[in-house]
């Protein structure tokens, strides 16, 4: 009994009663082969496209994954390039900022020196003017003091030396001078 016979017998058949333990009977082999062909044909006809489509989809999905990975690699490379470029830009910006700071520092230093020189010149001029003014003022005060002292001394000398005769002479001179003017 072959395997089909065994199945049909529901397990009640003794395996020792089979014709051959491996090979079924010829008829069974024929219709079994025909049934297998039919089944394979049906599978080929109906399940084949679906399987082919599944394979194509899988292939497409894998390709998409590969493309995505490739794109990711490309993007990563571009990003790396941009980062490198940005790093280069940062270096250039840093250099530019440093150069600009150096220039500004130089300008500030130059302006500061010029301003200090101007202020120093103004201070010197003002000090010179103040000194000259003070000298003039002291000279004026000294001259005024000398004049005042001279006048005081002259007055005292005159008061001491103007005797009665001189006084009378001055009075007579005044009377004569006034009398002669009309």
């Amino acid at each position: 009994m072959n395997i089909y016979g065994l199945v049909a017998a529901g397990g009640d058949i003794d395996p020792s009663e089979s014709v051959h333990w491996l090979w079924p009977p010829a008829a069974e082999l024929i219709y079994g082969g025909i049934a297998s062909l039919i089944i394979f044909s049906l599978l080929w006809k109906f399940a084949g496209p679906a399987a082919k489509k599944g394979m194509a989809d899988r292939t497409a999905r894998i390709q998409a994954d590969l493309d995505a990975a490739d794109a990711a690699v490309t993007g990563a490379r571009q990003e790396a390039e941009e980062i490198r470029r940005a790093a280069g830009d940062i270096d250039a910006e840093r250099s530019r900022l440093l150069a600009e700071a150096d220039a500004q520092a130089a300008d500030i230093l130059s302006d500061g020196r010029a301003r200090i020189e101007t202020e120093v010149a103004e201070l010197e001029a003002r000090a010179a003017a103040d000194a000259a003014s003070m000298g003039d003022r002291l000279g004026d005060e000294l001259r005024a003091e000398i004049a005042s002292l001279s006048a005081e001394v002259t007055q005292r000398l005159l008061a001491e030396t103007l005797d009665d005769a001189a006084q009378q002479q001055m009075i007579e001179d005044f009377i004569q001078k006034v009398g002669s003017s009309s």
């Binding site: 001259r143 000398i146 004049a147 005042s148 001279s150 006048a151 002259t154 007055q155 005159l158 008061a159 103007l162 009665d164 001189a166 006084q167 009378q168 001055m170 009075i171 007579e172 001179d173 005044f174 009377i175 004569q176 001078k177 006034v178 009398g179 003017s181 009309s182």
Partner: protein, 175 residues
């Protein structure tokens, strides 16, 4: 004090002196007293201090003028000082002198000299000033040592200055 009040006092003093018949003498004494009053801070302060009783101030006047001026002069000054008008005394007296001079058709000539002038010098100076100003003058001589020497005469708005003091001031200014 207002000019009207000063003029009022001057007119009153003038009328009293003229009624007494001593106008020339009183006028001259008052003029000299006014100049002393102006030049002496102590006298001015004593006679114008309102904290000093009026009778005390009048006593000072009497002790000063008692034997140096006529009774009329002393009484007139005492009256002004006693009435509390001491600060205006010089202006009142100047107004009186001007009024007295006008009554005689004269112009007041204030003369300051370091030494006193003799009568002859005063007569000749009055004539010289009359010749120079064209007006007969009532000469009022003030002995003022501060002029040092020479004379300065003021007739109205005209000042004729021949003093050593002025020459010294000019010299000082020039120096």
């Amino acid at each position: 004090m207002s000019d009207a009040r000063i003029e009022g006092y001057a007119r009153a003093l003038f009328e009293i002196a003229r009624a007494e018949g001593t106008l020339d003498e009183v006028e001259d004494e008052l003029f000299r007293f006014a100049r002393s009053f102006e030049s002496s801070d102590a006298l001015r302060n004593a006679l114008t201090d309102e904290m000093v009783p009026a009778d005390r101030r009048q006593g000072i006047v009497e002790s000063l003028l008692g034997d140096r001026a006529t009774a009329t002069t002393m009484q007139l000054v005492s009256m002004v000082i006693g009435s509390g008008r001491g600060r205006d005394l010089p202006e009142i007296i100047d107004s009186l002198v001007a009024r007295a001079s006008r009554s005689k058709d004269l112009e007041v000539a204030e003369v300051r000299s370091a030494v006193a002038l003799t009568d002859d010098q005063q007569t000749r100076l009055a004539a010289a000033l009359a010749n120079a100003t064209g007006q007969q003058v009532n000469l009022k001589v003030v002995v003022d040592p501060s002029v040092i020497g020479g004379i300065v005469a003021t007739v109205g708005d005209t000042v004729i200055d021949g003093t050593v003091r002025t020459r010294l001031d000019q010299l000082k200014s020039r120096l």
